[in-house]
């Protein structure tokens, strides 16, 4: 199976994300933001964490307009699988592929810690190796992770079973304790926590592997 990881100036989790994919059996290519086309035959694209373009203007806003993102949006619109962690989630929201916005943490502070998450649905290619209601621990590290959505959007996401993960002890003020969401077709996942930083014994926590394992299983069947 083939994965691509997009690299922007200021990305800093691109290699971690590539390693997460590789550990799950993916062949990974790194794609530079100035490229205008994607490698052929991809099964999934990953948008990594970091501080693309220095978070200038708004987090993810400049990256969302980069040449490669046009190809990424086309890929998604054709039904391709896509995931974004942390800055990747912010970028996906700025492209409009996912609804909502990530704003400054309610406490105004950068938060870096091991975070408890509740699995809200097992019905997605990213979570089917997990059980609904299960609790996992995944690191977070962000200043702008406050998922902002009006009550209607939160209700719609819940009603359509599109909340993938929620925070057990909300660290940033996110609406509805939402940590990660799915697109309408359930093929796009955006989340602030970093599963790719919890994939190996040396990380001290391997809970994040379940996301990649889910993908391997569901994409093999796709």
């Amino acid at each position: 199976m083939k994965a691509a990881v997009i690299v922007f100036p200021g990305s800093n989790c691109d290699r971690d994300l590539a390693e997460g994919f590789r550990l799950a059996g993916f062949e990974v290519s790194m794609v530079w933001h100035k490229d205008t086309s994607l490698p052929q035959g991809l099964d999934i694209i990953g948008i990594p964490g970091g501080f693309s373009f220095g978070d200038y203007l708004r987090c993810g806003a400049i990256a969302a307009q980069s040449p490669i993102c046009q190809a990424v949006v086309e890929y998604a619109n054709k039904g391709g699988h896509l995931l974004g962690f942390c800055n990747g989630f912010q970028i996906l929201c700025e492209t409009g592929l996912l609804p909502g916005v990530l704003m400054r943490n309610a406490g105004l502070k950068y938060v870096c810690r091991q975070q408890g998450l509740r699995v809200e649905t097992a019905d997605s290619p990213f979570t089917n190796a997990l059980s609904k209601g299960a609790e996992i621990t995944v690191p977070i590290a962000h200043h702008d992770g406050n998922f902002s959505a009006d009550a209607d959007l939160v209700a719609r996401l819940r009603g359509e079973d599109r909340v993938a993960f929620s925070y057990i002890d909300n660290p940033n003020g996110s609406a509805g304790d939402i940590a990660g969401i799915l697109s309408e077709n359930r093929r796009i996942l955006g989340m602030m926590p970093h599963p790719e930083r919890a994939c190996e014994a040396v990380h001290g926590n391997e809970d994040g592997r379940a996301v990649f394992k889910s993908l391997t299983e569901s994409l093999a069947l796709a």
Partner: protein
């Protein structure tokens, strides 16, 4: 020609930075500051003849995130 774009959070969107500024003003002894909203100003140097519609388009596509922000354009 120049354009000045003012970007502010929409009413009802929580502004924790504005709240922090209000708190700090109170600490400095400025009483009666009931609310603070923080925004940004973007100044653009443009080719003569650029229309307001074009600047609005820039705001819609990049300068503002209209989910949470509103903008106003001043041409000079």
């Amino acid at each position: 020609m120049k354009a000045r774009v003012h970007i502010t959070l929409k009413n009802g969107v929580l502004d924790p930075q504005g709240a922090a500024i209000r708190h700090a003003l109170g600490t400095l002894g400025f009483d009666g500051v009931e609310n603070v909203r923080q925004g940004k100003v973007i100044e653009l140097d443009l080719a003569e003849g650029t229309t307001e519609a074009t600047v609005n388009d820039m705001c819609e596509k990049l300068l503002a995130n209209t989910v949470i922000e509103s903008y106003s354009v001043e041409l000079a």
